[in-house]
Subunit: 159 residues, 8 copies
């Protein structure tokens, strides 16, 4: 699949961006002893190739009053409704992740809520989507790890 | 919990950063008709208050050869081992998320792997941690949604 | 949430009422070296604030011929029926507790019956409510603990 | 089992006490057109017979900051440990109810906590009791019904 | 419940009949040193009181070509169909036992079949009853115990 | 397996004994127009061939105060303990049936008890057998069918 | 069942064919010191008796790009649809094995796919068959054993 | 993965061998209008590349007295024992397939036995392997499909 070939310079640029997406290109250039223009071209190329899809802010949801995380397994009436249900789920902003899965659930979601009562409202929103047969919820008592940086570094050091 | 008070300017700055973490502060300043210095001060304050914890790059894992996602439920022998097991799990870069959960699992993880065989190796690494009694794996057939931006916008528009 | 501020006198009054709801206010007054009128005012205030919602008699159900306790998990056809089903459940006096829950059940009830046969009748009443899809019953072999006083004392000693 | 015979007067006294445990005996006497002494004697007799075991205050736990309710199923290593484990559970004030049950759990508890984090601590306390093999938690999203008065009235109107 | 009072003579008669339903009354009479008429009267009385409901032959089903035993758990669409479904089940001679049960099944049956294929036919007969939603089968690999005599003796020695 | 060949006379004799094990041989002889000696010889032969293994009394357990029926699934620590555990189970008279089964249980038992409390004691006896890891109990709310006669008649009419 | 009697020569011929279905009959003849004609006749006879049903090539599916194996449990709406559903399943070439089973599934299939995405398509094909209510998938992380030769040799050495 | 390139001639040769592994190379040659030598060379090459791994006889197990098929899910004590347990499983000829799987089982096997009793013996053999914690068995009531030819044809027609 990974047909686009990343060379060592690309890897080093990515390593720096992974640690801080806001690092100025001039800093990257200085560190790698290349021109800022080269950094710009490389990043542009990786964006065009679709390897870099964007960046996201890491907020402290607890401080923002959204401390409640739950996983919701969704059973559908028919899998032919999968696409439709996923579009409806996509309209609920409190669902941050959704997967089509093997095992007992058809769709598996992660939600963030303010508290138990808010979680109930979100679960009911999912339950009320046409084609959803039943849901089962598992509540997070503590988010102990949420970090893709270790994976990203590992990918590039393994390449 | 959310004792730190964000005002409307903070919200608008956050909204722009959520969409693109690399947007220059001068662009934000121009858009909001404030000085770049103000933007800088505000962002700094939100970082110091711990509301902005950082930023992360969004890569296309499929293109990088890591198309395989699975959720792994972990049963512990004793919950007193939770902290120790989470530290070991933290050493496996392919585990990107880990939660202490209610329901049948003690710990619930998300992993990214190259393929079935690689997934097996990662699951075995988790299984071999001292104190882990058993694991149960659910495989993602499609990541249909992975987007925290909708949530972030929703949080600020609800405040 | 607990915006109403209870002071030390309130706590001591509550502690005495928790142990015996029928304790005369004059006894409380004597013990705390305050006037009976003060006790009266304080209790009234706590009732108006909704902190004290009432009191309930503790009967020996075994002696009254109601020795059979069971927990009944209820699966609904659609969660939109939750409110309607709970109203119907509320009409069955043998259901003493009902919760909307996470996990596999939509609603989780506690029932008290005379014996196995009576329990069957009650379970069938729940099963026959429109919108109830299925129930699953877990029978109590012994009620080993049913005591909120320890919790109440703990709440006030932690405040 | 219910060998102690309650007559109609007893029933009516109980009915009034069920509605309000603090109702003065003189009020009961007036309502039933009997002497206050008779009420006193009757209540005493029912207390001595163990039918009336006491009374308990109904507090608004939400207002007191204890809004989180969960059911915890406990698996034991050996049922011979049941008595020992129940004694340890009895030392945790946040566990308000505990049953020995049929089905997959050995012991089934109800807990009240301040929030998710507090619930985690309580669950870990139970998990750490010697002889407890594993626990499974089901969280209440709403306590829709908690009322024994309907049952009590029903018992006496059926007698 | 057991209002009919059995005396010691009754117990001894039952003990002998439990061991061998075909034992002649004269043998019982001789052993207990009473008249055969008394035995006759006592047995008659126990039959009329409904304590003795009949007798059944114990055949070797293996030798008769019916070696396959399975337990079939039945899920109903609505419990209001229980009575109707049990009547249909009653028409299948290969179902020897059926219970209304707590837990995940509504009805729980024991079947005897010639072999796997025959068992499949019987399970399909049950599955095809109107109102039956699904069945789950557990197969016996060995009938290690099937003996009510130990229970009967125990009942009478405990009386 | 059924190598012993039963002829039509045998079938008819069995049919009569199935309905009433105590029917006198002379009655059978008269009905089938054969000699009582022939009946005697045939029954003897079927007993010697092991086809007729005995007979059992059908008592009304409810009237005898044993109205509580439960199924208990037993999990073993190792299947090598199966034989030992079954011998211990065999010593508990309240266990009337025990099977080695496929599915989640190693051994599956049927018990008869006086009431909930007695059932708890019996389940604890099983739980305390060395080698028993855990049990799961399913309670009968009604024994709707317990009749092997239909099967027996069906076997002989199919032969 | 095995009424057709295989003699020692048949066994030895089968043993050689099991190891290599393409072994020339002349080689078998030489090894067993019989004529090639005899081998031919014997094989023909075993084919006509239906004992030898054919032969199949063992390909390396991994090398052919079909490395993904999964087991799919199928729940039907009604077992009366079993035959129809199996005919539809039979039209999907990626399903290599299908069984009617006891336990929670009605039908249990084995599928071979190119990768996760292809597996999803196949599972959706099964899910979309009329009469299929739900499916549950279990993914193979490694096919550690797939060998009927050991069984075949064992059958003939036990005969 | 499939680096070895098969051309159209290879496909057509494979198609003929799939249908009948014993088809003479001269027949293939005639059909495809190529020389028998070419067929020989091509098959040799595909064998050396490991694409053709061998061939196997398709026997009628029912006629050979092995009509009983079951799937056995194996739970291990530790996954580090997986390799050891699979080696022991490999010594039991009645296990024809074994997979390391996701979901609740660690290893998932297919067995063929003579009957229920033989199946019990095989399951006990697996249960008694050191490191095996528990097994769960699902019995096949009918092998409705067992055919890899459809898949093979599909693979080559899709290439």
């Amino acid at each position: 699949m990974a047909k686009f070939k990343l060379d060592d310079i690309d890897h080093q640029i990515l390593e720096m961006l992974i640690d801080n997406t806001r690092v100025p290109f001039t800093d990257i250039a200085k560190k790698l002893v290349i021109s800022a223009g080269t950094v710009h071209v490389r990043v542009k190329k990786m964006e065009e190739a679709g390897i870099i899809k964007g960046s996201s802010l890491t907020l402290d949801y607890k401080k923002l009053g959204y401390a409640f995380i739950a996983y919701v397994g969704v059973f559908l009436q028919k899998t032919s409704q999968t696409k439709f249900v996923l579009e409806r789920i996509n309209e609920i902003p409190y669902v941050t992740v959704a997967h089509i899965t093997t095992g007992k659930f058809n769709v598996f979601c992660k939600i963030r809520a303010k508290n138990t009562e808010h979680a109930k409202d979100i679960i009911f929103m999912i339950d009320d989507i046409e084609g959803v047969y039943r849901t089962e919820t598992m509540i997070s008592l503590e988010e102990s790890l949420n970090d893709k940086k270790r994976l990203m570094h590992s990918i590039f050091s393994n390449m």
